[in-house]
Symmetry: C3
Subunit: 399 residues, 3 copies
């Protein structure tokens, strides 16, 4: 299972030559990072995974804290973030808002400073309401800038987006790493058809950040990205535009269809996943702002009824048989709504999911290393030499 | 208070000669471990406690996580587990099921993998329902096996039972270590009468794992184990059988009585503690599975009423005076239901408890080191050399 | 922003000459510490902050736990405590009383021992009820003494007061450090007028510990301390007496007035903050002890109505213009009730608060280092040589 040391060495050599620029910046949206930045994160993540498996001690912080602030449930990302911090030597501190007073409004700038005196990184999940999550992260980031400039903070912690209303970069880079492995290189993504498709789920209000993040990221590597969803389940127009531009720039293509079959036809990669329509999410935010409980209940009912009209949007054997050689690679950020297992009707049938189950676990295993790579890139001027030293130092992590 | 260094050295020498075999295994039930394994855990635990008191740095993990998953309240074991992980250099991550989605059923195998990418050990308490806890731990363990075999996980974390429906090994090994100290050696347990007795408590549904674990463990060292409980408060038949076999094999004895006095008569060790009848626990699980709230309420009332018929099952001065030289050693896993302190009628009177209070604290102090010994045994091929190196290395934990 | 290394060296030299005595003691109340102890904490805190900014690795514990036990909400102190523990190498373990059984009464002594086997420090916040917090901390401390004396514990963890009903030493030492910076030295506090004033807040039941701690501490350095509050909002008489004695002993003065303007007139330092009257807090404790919910509701209403009579006790531009050169330094422990921001009427107007906002953040940044200094002083016989070694050792915290 262990990659040979030579491969790790070679990756270090290529990383040294890359022209990335993430030091003292936050990691909020992949589309604000250069393609070279993206490639550097993937390469560093693989180096870290290789060294970890070779029992190299990767502790670069002797002390320091990684703060996590989750405004929504999370198993995978919470755990991956804690693992990444721990791998590099950071303790984690979970800001539980029920025990504290951090809120939207005046005190964001105050609390941002109060939690940062000895912190190196702040990971935030705020994905529930369209128009909020990314804005909240920006407000935290600006408050930290002010605190650093005015001498409150001795250094400026990095903010990392663990899922907002726009994007979910730690997930989509994990997905991209998985494809990188599967196809052998990022270069091999060129010309591959990637179907990001809506699928039915009995739940409501799932964020748009995964499909948005997936199309905006995959379109930068020459792939034929196809987005499929029933009418009325559109994503944010700005991100659709951005994806079109990325596809054009990378020599790939970007199409949108309201036919799942069309998307799956000859696809190399399929990513069937439920989300709520953008317009519904906007209406929801307006109702939340007005604290209109009754309106919210009605919206939920309406939305679930509307979803139920599209129960045929399921990734079953028939759908799968349309894909390239009937065996496209299936991606999911997990947990999937598996028909007959966790729900009566869902995103994917039990048979199809079981076929790919272990692959989805292998997909997920990259996330801690992706996050660790982000932290290194954001916090250190020369992360490559730092890791090279760890490699040469020959210090073991255990024993 | 500090044990002399020579004693620690000698224990290392004897540990080297022992024929234990716990590497890459889980620690779920004491009766699936060899007696040599049990002795090795006790010896290593004492070595760790000695070195800790001599301020030796016992960090064997530079990074890594110990996951804890508690499905029931816990102060002592939670703290002991966190302390053991910290002693060896692991960060701890508490899986709070209210913040995550780990549940019985399909996703156990998924979540088991998701929490394990950079984890070394997973400690689980699941003791509430007969027929569930041990099965859950096995399901986690099998999921980890699959993940490791199929390349999802780079290594296989160890699963440690922090109390299930069958056994509570970190507690009973703590109890055994206390007796080891008290009598001077495990060999001296031979022929000692150990009374594991039911006692009255105003609460209902206490797990069977402590009495079961105690009789199954103590019977392996030549002791005369006597189990006492009112009619209808029986333990699991399989474990009763196992205890009989262990007693036979070790040259001790095992008897069951429905008379507390008979059990206490001439006892060297007394362990009066409440538990729920096995049959009631089984019925409870059936009602829980049916989500029969009304049935559960009735069962609780019935069971409390039945308990109340046995308020005379209390460890008071009269009971104590029956024991060997009127001064058997009193054991309890804490917290005890102390009559006149935490309840009107309870397991033990205030006077008797106060006499042994500090001894029960001294009993409890072994638990962090027992757990640390388990982690070392499960995670390292050669834990003895590892600790010997720490000893010789002369590195201080503090300063 | 970084203080020159020379300054840190000089502080180490002066600290070596100081005659402090905190080893193996708890830090519960500033007035039970000598003035030399107070000065030593401030000096060590500055040394730690300087070394931290110079990226010196301050890890003095290779393993070990810092326990925190919060019986009230906290962002700042919780975070500062976790940061201080982390800075010195301790993992933190948050005792969540909803997951455990620690309570007032019998089991305090038991639980105190159970959480201490591998712990170095126990930080407690218990500030809600007059007559409880300090007593609880003393009970924990005495239980640890017993456990240590009787061989339950191999060492005696230090107890640190993170706010009780009497005092809030980590906050007031933070405040004092801020003034130390602002005026250039503690000596320069001599003759400065410090106005600790009640101010209106729409909430009820705020602890007395900050105003009590502030007057009792500031009066030890020759300042002219003036306490202002409406009639009936008095502090604890014992602490008022103590403050008078300290003022006399230090060559300063202590006055009490019921006129906010009088307090602010020519003040060098203003600290406008709400609190509940001592008598009300006493009545509240009596009602809580009787579990008189109705009585508590009535008391709250009464108290809020009484507060509302004093809405003119607000720190606005007019008040500020009374102070020395119209520009006294404004202190607050945060979060402040800012009029027009977090409430309609509050302790301070938006304009005045905004003027000092960044200064209040700079005030707060001292707290993690104050707590770290306390831990070092309580846990190590010779903390000065220890830190001097870290300084000379030239080991980096990151990289």
């Amino acid at each position: 299972m262990r990659e040979p040391i030579l491969k790790t060495k070679n990756m270090l050599v290529s990383l040294k030559k890359m022209n990335f620029n993430m030091y003292r910046k936050d990691f909020l949206l992949t589309w604000n990072k250069s393609t070279e930045d993206i490639k550097a994160i993937l390469t560093l993540s693989e180096i870290l995974r290789g060294l970890y498996r070779d029992n190299v001690n990767l502790r670069v912080f002797q002390t320091g804290l990684g703060i996590s602030l989750f405004r929504d449930m999370s198993t995978r990302t919470r755990m991956a973030y804690a693992s990444a911090c721990n791998l590099l030597g950071l303790g984690t501190f979970d800001m539980d808002e029920s025990k504290t007073q951090i809120t939207h409004g005046e005190t964001v700038r105050e609390t941002s400073n109060m939690i940062s005196f000895l912190s190196e990184v702040i990971g935030i999940r705020d994905d529930m309401f369209v128009g909020r999550g990314h804005n909240f992260m920006k407000e935290v980031a600006e408050s930290l800038d002010e605190g650093f400039e005015k001498g409150v903070l001795g250094h400026r912690p990095a903010v990392i987006n663990l899922q907002c209303d726009f994007d979910h970069p730690t997930q989509t880079l994990t997905d991209l790493q998985h494809l990188n492995h599967y196809f052998g290189s990022l270069e091999n993504l060129r010309g591959k058809k990637i179907a990001m498709s809506w699928a039915y789920s009995p739940s409501y209000g799932k964020p748009l950040s995964v499909p948005q993040g997936v199309i905006a990221l995959m379109s930068r590597f020459g792939a034929e990205v196809c987005l499929a969803h029933p009418e009325g389940y559109g994503l944010m127009p700005d991100i659709i535009d951005k994806t079109g531009e990325f596809a054009k720039g990378s020599g790939g293509s970007f199409t949108v269809t309201d036919d799942m079959k069309e998307a799956f036809k000859d696809a190399d990669v399929i990513y069937p996943k439920s989300w709520a329509p953008f317009e519904v999410m906007e209406q929801r935010t307006r109702l939340v702002n007005k604290e209109d409980e009754k309106g919210l209940d009605e919206l939920e009912k309406e939305c679930l009824a509307r979803n139920a009209e599209h129960k045929d949007w399921v990734c079953d054997e028939d759908m799968l048989s349309l894909t390239k050689d009937k065996s496209a690679i299936y991606l999911h950020c997990l947990p999937a709504d598996v028909q007959g297992v966790s729900c009566e009707h869902g995103e994917v049938t039990e048979g199809v999911f079981e076929k790919y189950r272990i692959q989805t676990y292998r997909q997920a295993r990259h996330k801690p290393f992706i996050i660790a790579a982000m932290i290194l890139m954001c916090c250190f001027r020369d992360p490559v030499s730092l890791i090279d030293d760890k490699f040469r130092g020959n210090k073991h992590r255990t024993g």
